[in-house]
């Protein structure tokens, strides 16, 4: 009897020691047991989540949609690699001669300077200043010769403003079929002030369009056509009165400029 209990205690202690040693060899085994115990509770949830994912995937495949999250590394796709004159994160300095296209009574010739910055290839902002020298056309001299007062004609003298530039179009031209020139085309709504000859300063809403023809990676020939709309204060004499009367005159200036653009700093390629 005594020996039986001795053997039993020995066996129990040996099994305890062996399980402890096993645990030391594989500490995870404790956790495995724990997971095994929980498995019957978790398994249905996991299966339902997996099933939902499979169904969602099949639906997406049917719609032809691509999960954009999976394409994160390719989100930034560039359709035109290594543009000849990239503009992203570069400043543009532009200087040009300007000519007024639509003033029937005065010749408007002047100069235009502007400085801009491009956030992306397509979007940028620009601040401009323009000054104009005016000279009378023959018709105006003829009217003054027969004592007709021309004070009520609006004469723009200078303009300053800011524009938002959007350049959605990029292309190439063959010059005389010997050389390729790269260009882009932009439109730019603007707001600014026009100073007139009688000392007025008028709020001007504008719209420009133009092209940059790249000569090098920093230099381009640019033309620009700006239409400025404002209401100018004028003084006029009428046939019934010798006292000048102040009135408003809606005015539209169409100015064409051609010049050079310089881009800095050095271009970064994608």
């Amino acid at each position: 009897m005594k020996s039986f209990f001795q053997i039993l205690i020995f066996a129990l202690s040996m099994s305890l020691i062996s399980s402890m040693s096993l645990a030391q060899d594989n500490p995870e085994s404790v956790y495995d047991d724990f997971e095994l115990e929980l498995e019957p509770i978790n398994e249905p949830q996991k299966k339902s989540v997996k099933k939902k994912k499979r169904v969602a995937k099949r639906r997406q495949a049917k719609r032809g949609k691509v999960n954009s999250l999976k394409l994160d590394p390719y989100k930034d796709i560039v359709t035109l690699q290594r543009k000849y004159l990239p503009k992203t994160e570069r400043f543009e300095l532009y200087g040009s001669f300007t000519y007024g296209l639509n003033n029937a009574f005065y010749n408007n010739i002047g100069a235009h300077i502007s400085a801009g910055y491009y956030f992306t290839e397509k979007l940028g902002i620009e601040a401009s200043y323009e000054f104009l020298l005016d000279s009378e056309r023959e018709i105006t001299k003829g009217l003054e010769k027969i004592d007709i007062d021309t004070r009520s004609l609006v004469i723009p003298e200078s303009y300053y403003g800011v524009a938002l530039k959007w350049a959605p179009i990029y292309g190439k031209l063959a010059w005389l079929n010997e050389q390729i020139l790269h260009f882009d085309f932009y439109i730019a709504p603007s707001i600014g002030m026009t100073q007139t000859a009688i000392g007025g300063s008028e709020l001007t809403y504008g719209f420009s369009m133009g092209q940059n023809f790249a000569i090098s990676q920093s230099l381009a020939v640019r033309w620009d056509l700006r239409v400025g709309l404002y209401t100018a204060e004028v003084e006029e004499l009428t046939a019934n009165s010798n006292t000048p009367v102040r009135s408003s005159s809606p005015t539209e200036d169409v100015l064409f400029s051609v010049g050079l653009s310089y881009f800095l700093p050095e271009a970064k390629y994608r």
Partner: protein, 230 residues
């Protein structure tokens, strides 16, 4: 015996100055950067149907209808016939002047109106290119310079005219596109301010062109519209 050959071999050393430092590309006598044009114009006729504006017309109507026909001998050279037909009448400034809005009355309608401008031009197409408006839409474009001579027609007379201009065409297919012209036009013509066209000057009826002094006018014209290629 075999060793004798190697014994005779010598090592040639070149100084850096003698080595080629840059690569060169062949220069062709007649380079052609565009081999196949999507919109060829050689030997083709272009018809332009446009609206025309005289941007610097002070006293008379400045809008009209413009027709142009161009024949292209080659991709670069062509001839063009351009006509701008005006509707006649006074502009807003002309009406204001007639009603006494400029300190006194003056009636420009008593002078002859400019009715039409017809010019023959030499066309030089220096640029041909393309641009992408979207992934599926490519538009070809060409830029041409124009120089020409012709006549301007008043109600009862004609005078010599000359012009310089630039034309840009955007082609949406091989057969049609849109066209924008800006031209600088110079011409002789009767100066309406050379006579006092008012009751002060005792003139109340329409006067012929030869009653006025001639002067030189410099005007800017713009034409925009459709161009069809045949």
């Amino acid at each position: 015996m075999l060793g004798a050959g190697t014994a005779m071999a010598d090592t040639i050393k070149l100084t850096p100055e003698e080595l080629s430092l840059e690569t060169v590309l062949p220069v062709f006598e007649y380079p052609a950067v565009v081999k196949n044009r999507r919109v060829p114009i050689k030997g083709r006729f272009e018809l332009g149907l446009m609206a025309g504006f005289i941007l610097t017309e002070p006293l008379y109507t400045n809008t009209g209808f413009a027709l142009s026909g161009t024949y292209n001998f080659t991709e670069k050279h062509g001839v063009n016939l351009f006509g701008l037909f005006l509707s006649g009448g006074l502009s807003a400034n002309g009406e204001r002047l007639r009603k006494g809005g400029f300190s006194r009355e003056f009636d420009p309608s008593l002078a002859p109106f400019l009715e039409n401008i017809i010019l023959a031009n030499y066309v030089y197409t220096a640029y041909y290119g393309k641009m992408s408006l979207s992934k599926k839409l490519v538009v070809n474009l060409s830029l041409s310079g124009l120089a020409g001579l012709g006549m301007v027609g008043y109600e009862d007379s004609q005078f010599l005219a000359m012009q310089l201009g630039v034309s840009q065409r955007f082609f949406f297919s091989k057969h049609w596109g849109i066209n924008f012209d800006i031209r600088l036009l110079g011409h002789q013509g009767p100066d309406p301010t050379s006579l006092d066209l008012s009751s002060n000057g005792n003139i109340t009826e329409k006067q012929p062109s030869d009653a006025f002094e001639e002067t030189f006018f410099l005007k800017t014209t713009l034409a925009a519209g459709l161009v069809i290629l045949f």
